[in-house]
Every structure is written in structure tokens, then in C-alpha cells.
């Protein structure tokens, strides 16, 4: 069993979970993820590893409540999880590239942290950009600032930092002549697509953390297949972070919506039922 050390809602609908998982912590590298199960009946849920501590044997993830399983995870009162599996996926190559831009949105604000930290340590000039709809949704600000050369905050409503999104900030930087050697983006598909479309126009080597639906997470089922550079790839073993020259975003949006009808219905009923308790 895997002990939950802490669970908190850091900003509305973004939850931070710290778990005891010494094996995972020992092997974890930036860009990897875990699969987690609440109980035996639960889904196998993939989450980006946001931090780990080898000495303490702990790992940290951030997640949003977006459906039945994540709602259950938020409501879960036990102190142990049924399964934590990882670290899975290919680590992101960390080297001295020069100037590296790393952008995060929603869970990705937490998700980019290990890459930011490692890139800084490798001697890069790290410019971190995070986005949210409004100031009250920004989290992990201090943590990211500590490991970045520069942290740029953007909000859609302009209540904090620059008005706009990560891709708007990136566009401005490019316009102002900032030389960017590599770019990394983790967030929702829409955010990553916009960011990628911005950096690709300037031929910046860009990596995105794809988040298709998964089951086993070890390359066994092929559920997470996506088209990258015209080839079918399994995000769980070939990714989830891909150097993307071409991503079939449309296909990914559609595949990720495969169960949305069933899930929306169940989610509604389930939330109503749970209120009675």
C-alpha cells in the first residue's frame, strides 16, 4: 500500500498530493509519470510527476478534478492508495542547450517543475511562463521562481502579470528578439497546441507533454496512441514528452473525448448521490 502523506487543494480545483513511494522517488526523472489507483475498482490514472525526494522516499503530483475518478480521489478519506506504479515514460533529455523556455498551465504548472529545476541545474538560462484564467488560480509561484532565471506569470483577465496566455508571452518574446534554443510545454491539449504553433513558426525545438487516455501505462494496450511526426506513437512508453515537429492535435482531442458522454452522465449522478452522505 502507498501512504498518502498530504492532500490539499492549493487553488480552486487544483489538488496537491504527496505520497510515500520510495521506489518511484529513487528512479524518477524529469518528464516521467506515475499510474495511481485509489482502490481495486478504480481506474488506472496517469499523473505527471511534479516533484520527489529520494531521501524521504516521497513523490508529489498535482491534479484537477475533471471526472468521476479524480472526484473520488479528491473525496478519498483513506490514508493509503491501492496502487502507485512508476516512474513510467521516457525521461526528458536534460543538457545545456542555452536559453530554455518552459511553459505550464493547469496541472502543468506543477508538472513543469522537475524540468525547470533540472534545466537550471544543467546551466541553462531558464525562462518559465505559467498561465491561469485569473490571479487566484496561480500556484507554485515561489517554488518555480527559485529554480528559474525568470518567471513570467500570465492571466487571461490580466489580474496578475501579463494579460494573456503562455503562447502570447512566448510570441512577444520571439518578437522582441529573445533567442530561444528549446521550448517545453505542459498543460491541457489546447494550451500545448497554441504554444507549439507559436514556437514552430520560429523553428524552435519544442517538446510537449501529451496526455492521452491510458490504461496500463507500460506499452501493453495501445490506448494512448497518438500521431507524432506522421507516426503512431504510444505516449506511455515513447513519450509522454515528445519532440514535436508535427502532432495530430485533432485526433488527440477526439480520442480524449471517447468516453466523455458516458462519463458526464455518471459524473452528474455520482456527484448528486455523494452529497447525501
Amino acid at each position: 500500500m502507498f501512504k498518502i502523506l498530504s492532500k490539499s487543494e492549493v487553488v480552486p480545483n487544483v489538488h496537491k498530493l504527496v505520497l510515500k513511494a520510495p521506489d518511484v522517488a529513487e528512479k524518477a526523472k524529469p518528464g516521467q509519470f506515475i499510474i495511481l489507483m485509489i482502490d481495486e475498482k478504480g481506474e488506472r490514472l496517469p499523473f505527471t510527476l511534479s516533484d520527489w525526494d529520494v531521501k524521504e522516499g516521497t513523490i508529489t503530483i498535482f491534479f484537477l478534478e475533471v471526472g468521476l475518478s479524480t472526484m473520488e480521489l479528491v473525496r478519498f478519506k483513506g490514508d493509503e492508495l491501492f496502487a502507485v506504479i512508476g516512474p513510467l515514460g521516457k525521461p526528458t533529455p536534460i543538457k545545456r542547450f542555452g536559453t530554455v523556455v518552459i511553459g505550464g498551465g493547469c496541472y502543468g504548472i506543477g508538472g513543469i517543475y522537475p524540468i525547470v529545476k533540472a534545466m537550471k541545474k544543467a546551466g541553462n538560462k531558464v525562462i518559465t511562463i505559467i498561465e491561469a484564467r485569473s490571479s487566484y488560480l496561480i500556484y507554485n509561484e515561489e517554488e518555480l521562481r527559485k529554480v528559474s532565471d525568470k518567471l513570467i506569470i500570465s492571466t487571461s483577465d490580466g489580474t496578475k502579470g501579463e494579460r494573456g496566455k503562455v503562447h502570447d508571452v512566448a510570441k512577444n518574446m520571439i518578437k522582441q528578439g529573445e533567442k530561444i534554443d528549446q521550448a517545453y510545454f505542459i498543460g491541457c491539449l489546447f494550451m500545448m497546441m497554441n504554444c507549439f504553433n507559436t514556437t514552430r513558426t520560429s523553428d524552435i525545438t519544442t517538446f510537449v507533454g501529451l496526455n492521452p487516455i491510458m490504461v496500463d501505462g507500460t506499452g501493453m494496450c495501445g490506448c494512448c496512441r497518438c500521431s507524432v511526426d506522421g507516426k503512431t506513437k504510444f505516449a506511455c512508453v515513447d513519450g509522454p514528452i515528445f519532440e514535436a515537429k508535427e502532432v495530430d492535435w485533432d485526433q488527440l482531442f477526439k480520442r480524449n473525448a471517447s468516453y466523455s458522454q458516458q462519463e458526464a452522465m455518471i459524473y452528474q449522478f455520482h456527484s448528486c448521490e455523494s452529497e447525501e452522505v
Binding site: A83, T218, G219, M220, V237, K254, R255, I266
Partner: protein
């Protein structure tokens, strides 16, 4: 009883759930022999001086001896006799292709029907389990030597079962959250109830086998860690052939297109047919198409039927005779109403505006010259394309070697398809590392994987003993 009267006893049929009823539930299809039927069936054995059935069994089950015990009515002793060489009798009694192994060699089969060895194996194993009279075998005293088994499928379980009896400290590492490998995620409940797999694994755990679930060797821990940090004296790799194959045709990444691995994993391991009591969803197709001709195809098709499909069609590019599936499985599928489109092959999948599959474009095939496998090669008939309406497609066209573990072992020799190169005892190019089952042979059967496990267990024992 003399041979003449023995020959007169007809092969006993095993009662089955009625096809109409069973097509709507996940309960086991065959219901098993009654004790009386079992004894009658076992009496058919002629107790040959040179029993040929033995040659047909990859794990060397002492068939005539256990049949004799069934005749005597000592069913528990019969089960224990099997367990001397086979740790998983309730599994083998259900999923072994006996018709091409022990039963194929039975002399009664020359003129009539062979003794139903598989059904009897199943009967005695079930009897012992149901009556809760399972006895643990004698164990040699601990020799303090550690063996790591990677993968808890049939070959891994066999290695563990054999080595624990010899006094080894055995740990099985399983990547998934439940033990059993393909027996758990692949083979459906109606063919192999999961409670039986659990009981067979439990039998090993009770003997002292350690089970480490959720451990992905190659990710959570490396083989090097096992040998250097954790002091394992030998490692056995039995990770199976867990990489789905796709046809690489247009439209394969549409929604509601599954690999059979994914479809079966969702249903068997994650129990998606019980959604939302279990949280993993699955698409429910009205008109399901399954591509392929093996047991996995039959399993997927029959699962689709049980989740409420109105029609399920199997599309296979060769003819009936070339289907790799067991005849019994094809027969069961047909009885349940699965439609077979043989000598047909998909060429394209077509989706609707939401990216969900709605049609499969197929082409008709004919048989040409024999290919490498000795089977006549299917050739497309030009201009014979047509469109099949379908809202769920399952690709059951085979599996390959999953590189997750092997890619972390540069010294391990692989063949051109990525399978591990091993000798007949499972010895690999890495010192102290053995391998067996599908990761060596490519997709095969449960019993062949068990046979490989048996040989490797013996070789590992010899290796460790000679090391001192």
C-alpha cells in the same frame, strides 16, 4: 473392466451454459463434470503400457496415474498427482489445447474419441479447491538462495512453483496491480474465472513465494538492481508478448478502435463491463467488428457480445482451416451467434465527424501459394472492396515483444523481432538471466510458456548449485 467394455463407453460431454443465456453473461461457459461423469470418463483410459499421452504434455503431467486415481474416486489425490509437475491444473484444464497435445496422442483417438484429459484435469483441480482440501507440497529446507521472477504469467508462476519446492527464496515482480499476467488481463472470465487464477496464485503464496505487485522491472527497479543491490542469484524473465499490433491502415487511430489487448484489459482486468461500479469505462458497440483469427479474436468477439452488441462479426483474411483459434472456441463463438467473414481483410477504417469509427472498408481474399508458415497465403481479389457498417473495431491480429524491460538491458541478445534469444533451457546471453514464454517464442500458448518455465527452473537450480 476389460478393454472392450472400456471402448464402448462414450466420451462424456461436459454440460455447458445454453448459448442464448451465456451470450448475455460473463459466467463460465462449460460447467464441469459431475463426479460420476468424471469416473466414467476416466474409466475409458486403456492404461497403455507405453502411454503416448505423456509425450504430448509440455509439463509432463502423469496422466495415466492421475486418471487411475479418478477411477478409484480419490479425486484429491488425483489433483495432487497432477500438481507434482503442474502448478496450475485448474487453469490448464480450461485453456490448454489438449486436442493438439495429450489428447491428440491418445490411442482411443485413432478410431474414436480420446480420453477427455483436459476436462478431468479441470474436474479434479476444481474438486480439491471447492472442497477446500488443498494441501501444500513438501518443500526442501531453505537454501538461502534468491531468485527473481519478472512477470506473473503462466511461465513465471511455473518457475516460482518449481523453485519454491526446491528451497529457494522466490520473489515474483508484477507490473500490474493483480497477478496472473495474460490469465488475468487477457483470458475472459467466461473461459477462465478470475477466482481460479487467484486460487492458483494463492497456492504459490502459501508455499512462501513473495509477490511484489506494481513493480515494473526496467522502470521501478532494474535487473542490475535485482542482481547487485538486492542480491538475487538468478533472474527469470517471463514478461510475455505484451505489445499490441496494428494493421497500419488508414483510420486505425479513430475513437472506438481498440487493440484486443486494450479491449480485453479493460474488460478482464479493469472489469469495465461493470462500469460504473468499477470506474474504467468501455465503448459499447452495437455492431462490433473483430479482426483476426486466433483465440484472442474469439475472446474479444465474445466479450463484445456480452457487453450488449447486437451483432459481432469476425473478419479474417484466411480460411476457416487456417484459423489459429482452438476449434472449441470457434465453435462456442458460432453457437453464440458471432458472424464469420472469412477470406476478408480490412483496408481502411472510416470515421464520422466526431472521429468515431463508422465503417470498415474490406477487400475479399483468395488463397494463393503457401507462405513461410506453410499456410496458403491470402491474396486480395482486385476490385472486390465493399463497406461494412460498424461502430466498434477490435484489432486481434497478434502481439509483439514489449521493449520496456529488454531496452534497459543492452547486453541481452534479442532477435530481429525484439524477442529474447534463449537456449532450450531458457539461458540468455546475460549471466544469471533466464527467459521463457512468449517473450522468447512470440505469442504461443499458456502450456508452452509453462513448459519453458519448467525447463528454466531446472536449469536455474543447476546453475545456482554449481556456482558455489
Amino acid at each position: 473392466m476389460d478393454a472392450k467394455s472400456k471402448i464402448k463407453i462414450p466420451r462424456q460431454k461436459m454440460p455447458e451454459q445454453n448459448p442464448k443465456a451465456r451470450a448475455k453473461n460473463f459466467m463460465e461457459v462449460p460447467l464441469g463434470y459431475t463426479p460420476k461423469q468424471a469416473q466414467l470418463e476416466a474409466q475409458r483410459c486403456l492404461s497403455c503400457k507405453k502411454p503416448r499421452c505423456l509425450e504430448g504434455c509440455p509439463v509432463g503431467v502423469k496422466i495415466p496415474e492421475f486418471l487411475k486415481l479418478v477411477v478409484d474416486g480419490d479425486f484429491a489425490a488425483a489433483a495432487r498427482k497432477i500438481k507434482e509437475t503442474n502448478a496450475l491444473p485448474a487453469v490448464c484444464g480450461r485453456v490448454c489445447p489438449q486436442e493438439s497435445q495429450c489428447e491428440a496422442k491418445c490411442v482411443l483417438g485413432i478410431k474414436g474419441s480420446p480420453v477427455a484429459v483436459g476436462r478431468l484435469e479441470r474436474f479434479v483441480a476444481d474438486y480439491e479447491r471447492d472442497k477446500k482440501i488443498i494441501e501444500l507440497p513438501k518443500k526442501q529446507p531453505s537454501n538461502k538462495k534468491k531468485v527473481a521472477v519478472i512477470g506473473s504469467g503462466p511461465s513465471g508462476l511455473t518457475v516460482a512453483g518449481d523453485l519454491i519446492k526446491l528451497g529457494y527464496d522466490v520473489t515474483i515482480f508484477e507490473a500490474l496491480h493483480k497477478p496472473g499476467g495474460v490469465l488475468i488481463y487477457g483470458i475472459p472470465e467466461f473461459r477462465l474465472p478470475k477466482a481460479i487464477v487467484e486460487a492458483e496464485v494463492d497456492y504459490l503464496v502459501k508455499q512462501g513465494v513473495n509477490l511484489e505487485l506494481n513493480k515494473v522491472i526496467g522502470a521501478s527497479r532494474s535487473v542490475e538492481d535485482l542482481m547487485k543491490k538486492d542480491d538475487y542469484d538468478a533472474v527469470y524473465i517471463g514478461v510475455g508478448a505484451g505489445l499490441p499490433t496494428f494493421m497500419r491502415i488508414e483510420g486505425e487511430n479513430l475513437s472506438n478502435v481498440y487493440s484486443a489487448n486494450e479491449y480485453l484489459t479493460r474488460i478482464n482486468l479493469m472489469k469495465a463491463y461493470l462500469y460504473p461500479q468499477h470506474y474504467t469505462p468501455i465503448a459499447l458497440g452495437k455492431h462490433v467488428t473483430v479482426v483476426g483469427g486466433g483465440n484472442v479474436t474469439m475472446d474479444s468477439a465474445r466479450c463484445a457480445l456480452r457487453t450488449g452488441a447486437e451483432s459481432v462479426t469476425v473478419v479474417y483474411r484466411r480460411a476457416r482451416e487456417q484459423m489459429p483459434a482452438r476449434a472449441e472456441e470457434v465453435h462456442h463463438a458460432e453457437e453464440e451467434g458471432i458472424i464469420f467473414k472469412l477470406l476478408n481483410n480490412p483496408v481502411e477504417l472510416i470515421g464520422d465527424e466526431r472521429g468515431t469509427v463508422k465503417e470498415m472498408k474490406c477487400i475479399k481474399m483468395k488463397l494463393g501459394e503457401p507462405d513461410d508458415s506453410g499456410r496458403r497465403r491470402p491474396v486480395p481479389i482486385e476490385g472486390s472492396e465493399y463497406v461494412l457498417k460498424t461502430d466498434l473495431v477490435i484489432m486481434g491480429i497478434g502481439a509483439g515483444a514489449n521493449p520496456l524491460l529488454t531496452s534497459t538491458l543492452p547486453k541481452l541478445e534479442l532477435n530481429k523481432w525484439g524477442y529474447i534469444v534463449a537456449d532450450e533451457n531458457g539461458k540468455t546471453s546475460m549471466k544469471g538471466v533466464w527467459a521463457g514464454g512468449d517473450i522468447v517464442t512470440g505469442s504461443a500458448t499458456v502450456i508452452l510458456a509453462m513448459g519453458a518455465g519448467k525447463c528454466a527452473a531446472r536449469a536455474i537450480d543447476e546453475y545456482i548449485k554449481s556456482k558455489k
